[in-house]
């Protein structure tokens, strides 16, 4: 690990000031950043410790939703009584990720910013445009079993690996961001992560030094909440494909549906055309197949990850069947 200067902040205002300037990064739980720093894959010259700046509460909003502080741990978020009851998909997604120990440290802000698990991103000896712009992409034509089938570019085919943000995308949550001068801006979670395009080094829309302060959930969405994660082992593994779904039924028809997908792209995938198709329809296998056709219309396998295309179809259909079926 490279040496760095360590600064502990006591409030958000101090943190954004301390992080202004080149080479500074916030450290929250540290579970992703330190992992990468140990391999010299991230080399901040200054760490701004934000663990004691507050922002560790879940509070009610005037709009009837919830505001989750950036330092709320994944464990506390998943165990929050209001989230368990009204935003089950979010609790479920968090509980499907990492381990008990990691969730105790991982924070809401840090989880959103976690970096890809592409093998070559983790290997300093291999070309990787995300780690070293212009060096090439070793995953194209290489080991790419875990890589993207949607929205990839010629420069990068990595996926965003997280679970929490997939549920937040289905919930249409918003990210509140504070800049150096204390000014704030709000971005839908659906627009927070980027597609790789020709800037795969940029995972999301945060500018250097910007601090995530909160994630805001809208008023609870009625209906059945499901998070289905398919992975290589039953626990403590990243998603190959995941589906977050909130589906409300009315008199045998789908009254509303909100869906987001993990493991498929450089960001949690959300396609409003699928929701438009489903709304107002009676559930059927033919309808679910059409939904999968829309999702996968532009899907492209890279060789080792070709299996994700049928797997995404089957996972989506299984989730829709469960969401629209009789409650057991």
């Amino acid at each position: 690990m490279r040496p760095f200067d360590y600064h502990r902040s006591e409030n958000a205002g101090d943190a954004v000031k301390a992080a202004a300037g080149d080479g500074a990064l916030f450290i929250a739980g540290g579970t992703n950043l330190l992992d990468l720093m140990k391999l010299d894959l991230m080399t901040p010259s200054r760490l701004v410790d934000i663990n004691r700046i507050g922002l560790n509460d879940v509070t009610q909003t005037e709009e009837g939703g919830l505001s989750i502080g950036a330092l709320v741990t994944n464990s506390d978020c998943a165990a929050d009584a209001r989230i368990r009851k009204d935003y089950e998909v979010l609790s479920r997604a968090i509980l499907a990720g990492a381990s008990g120990q990691l969730r105790n440290k991982a924070t809401t802000g840090g989880n959103l910013c976690q970096r890809t698990r592409c093998y070559y991103f983790y290997d300093p000896d291999m070309a990787c445009n995300k780690r070293k712009p212009g060096s090439g992409c070793s995953a194209i034509g290489g080991a790419n079993r875990i890589h993207a089938i949607l929205g990839a570019s010629d420069e990068c085919i990595a996926t965003y690996p997280g679970d929490m943000a997939v549920a937040m995308s289905a919930l249409d949550a918003e990210v509140v961001i504070e800049g150096e001068g204390g000014e704030t801006r709000t971005i839908p979670v659906r627009d927070f992560h980027r597609l790789p395009g020709d800037r795969p080094d940029q995972d999301n829309i945060l500018e250097p030094g910007e601090l995530i302060t909160h994630v805001t959930l809208p008023a609870p969405a009625k209906g059945r909440h499901i998070y289905r994660k398919v992975r290589d082992r039953a626990s403590y593994a990243f998603a190959l494909v995941s589906v977050a779904a909130i589906v409300e039924m009315d008199a045998g028809r789908i009254a509303s549906a909100s869906l987001a997908f993990g493991g498929l792209a450089h960001k949690p995938w959300h396609d409003p055309a699928i929701e438009d198709l489903l709304t107002g329809e009676a559930p059927s296998e033919a309808l679910f197949d059409k939904a999968a056709d829309i999702l996968l219309a532009d899907a492209k396998g890279q060789g080792q990850n070709d299996f994700k295309i049928p797997l995404a179809r089957r996972t989506l259909k299984a989730v829709l069947r469960e969401a629209t079926g009789e409650r057991s």
Binding site: P3, Y6, R92, Q101, S235, Y236
Partner: protein, 169 residues
């Protein structure tokens, strides 16, 4: 270099170390507490599990300097020869280990996990998120999935945890 004060197993310990020192390395290399083990150093195995302010974490993925004033519990603090904690005794009784390398992490993790269940935290395999947390073998396996055992002593680990949980409820 950075001065940090930690409360470890109820005792105040001062540390003066490079800011890069992980909590795990501080415990093992600076403070002589070698119970916590280093398996992977990357959050992937759980051998380094300790409790910070009552919660289990991977000590390899956090910096010692971030824990100034925090209360740390390691396996040494849970019990000692002749004075074993209920979980330590249950691991011995049920042969919950073979080589023993993962064991300190397993025991710290299980100690905190049983408290999480008492606090009614749900898990990925909980049928309902709003009901009472129940400690079935499936629940124990899921809640302990952050602790790998290369010797695969899993069935005995689950039995040991079950017995300790039943004895404490």
């Amino acid at each position: 270099m950075k001065d940090t004060t930690l409360r470890i197993n109820g005792e105040e310990r001062k540390l003066s170390a490079d800011t890069r020192t992980t909590l795990l390395d501080a415990l093992r290399n600076h403070l002589g507490l070698t119970g916590s083990k280093k398996g992977c150093d990357h959050g992937q195995c759980g051998a380094c599990t300790v409790m910070v302010n009552g919660r289990r974490i991977n000590s390899c993925l956090t910096l010692a300097c971030m824990h100034d004033g925090d209360e740390i519990t390691t396996v040494e603090g849970l019990g000692q020869p002749g004075n074993l904690s209920p979980l330590q005794a249950a691991f011995v009784k049920h042969d919950g280990f073979q080589c023993g390398y993962c064991t300190p992490g397993q025991i710290c993790s299980a100690t905190a996990m049983l408290q999480e269940v008492k606090d009614n935290w749900p898990s990925n395999v909980s049928e309902s998120l709003t009901g009472e947390a129940e400690l079935t073998p499936e629940e124990i396996s899921e809640r302990m999935s952050g602790n790998l055992c290369r010797c695969a002593a899993y069935p005995n680990i689950v039995n040991a945890i079950r017995e300790a949980a039943e004895a404490s409820s």
